[in-house]
Subunit: 179 residues, 2 copies
């Protein structure tokens, strides 16, 4: 199952940190690519690419001016679409069905106002708790449920930095050969 | 099990949105209170209180000038402390032990630089994936693991707004009697 994320309605400055966290969350929890709609933010994309290259794997980031085109192309290629919204079906109730469906999944993370056509285009509108919190936490918990916890075993190829989990202190392998 | 969150090193302006998302995530995933260390941000606290009162429950938010005092008081009262850090033990490996321990849990969410005394004071230093992403996603996924998914069944008392999960569109009960 290939997972991509589409972040709608990015705004320069105001959304920089949140969108950066959305990007890094997408990557850490197993997405191979994120599309950013809204205002083009080359500096943010460069920062995410830098982080991704230091920590390994092949995560991609791309700006799009036409997010409905991304959604429609995904569906034309046989993929399915999940839209995260606090109004949707409960994540823990639909995640097994989405996982077992086996299709590639495009996860849409909203901006301030999501038009009705996104709700309609989604195969699943999914809510992570029915409470207000954050697109970052919604994405992380949904990806965790979608991956059924397998994100904890992901390996990111050719990292410069590799954390070795440890109960106290910090233990980081530095692979200078991957710089 | 009572869960509180301690957010270190909040900075006015720069961290406003991320810290707000940390607060709302803490609440949505079952914490009863968050302490904010760092710069005092009354506007942020007022906004979080407003949101919490509209969505129900009894979530508390409090600024502290002495976060080590919060940690030590928690421990003196028999509670245990989890510090979320990308260098810690893997979340999925230690979450069952922490849950089964049954103690009240204070979850510490770091700022830019976390001093060694926080690592030392923690009963568990815990990493949510070993990759860089976000304190918001780390907190959400750790709380999800700690709650063993029970956060999806939480009820928030006396809400004005109550989302009824729905596959398409929006369905919100508005309880004017709770305004």
């Amino acid at each position: 199952m290939n997972v991509n994320v589409l972040r709608l309605d990015h705004r320069l400055k105001r959304d920089t940190r949140i969108t950066t966290h959305v990007c890094l969350t997408a990557r850490a929890f197993g997405a191979s690519k994120i599309y950013l709609a809204g205002e083009e933010d080359n500096k943010l994309m460069e920062n995410v690419r830098d982080t991704a290259s230091r920590w390994g794997g092949n995560f991609e980031i791309e700006h799009t001016d036409a997010y409905m085109g991304v959604i429609n192309a995904w569906k034309d290629n046989g993929g399915k679409v999940v839209h995260l919204t606090m109004y949707g079906s409960q994540a823990h109730e639909v995640a097994p069905e989405i996982r077992e469906d086996g299709s590639d999944i495009l996860i849409i993370v909203g901006g301030s106002k999501v038009p009705g056509k996104v709700y309609k285009a989604a195969d699943w509108n999914v809510s992570v708790t029915t409470q207000p919190h954050s697109e970052v936490s919604s994405l992380a918990v949904f990806q965790h449920l979608l991956m059924d916890g397998k994100e904890f075993d992901l390996e990111f190829e050719n990292p410069v930095f590799e954390v070795i989990p440890t109960a106290h202190g910090k233990n980081v392998n530095i692979h200078d050969e991957n710089r």
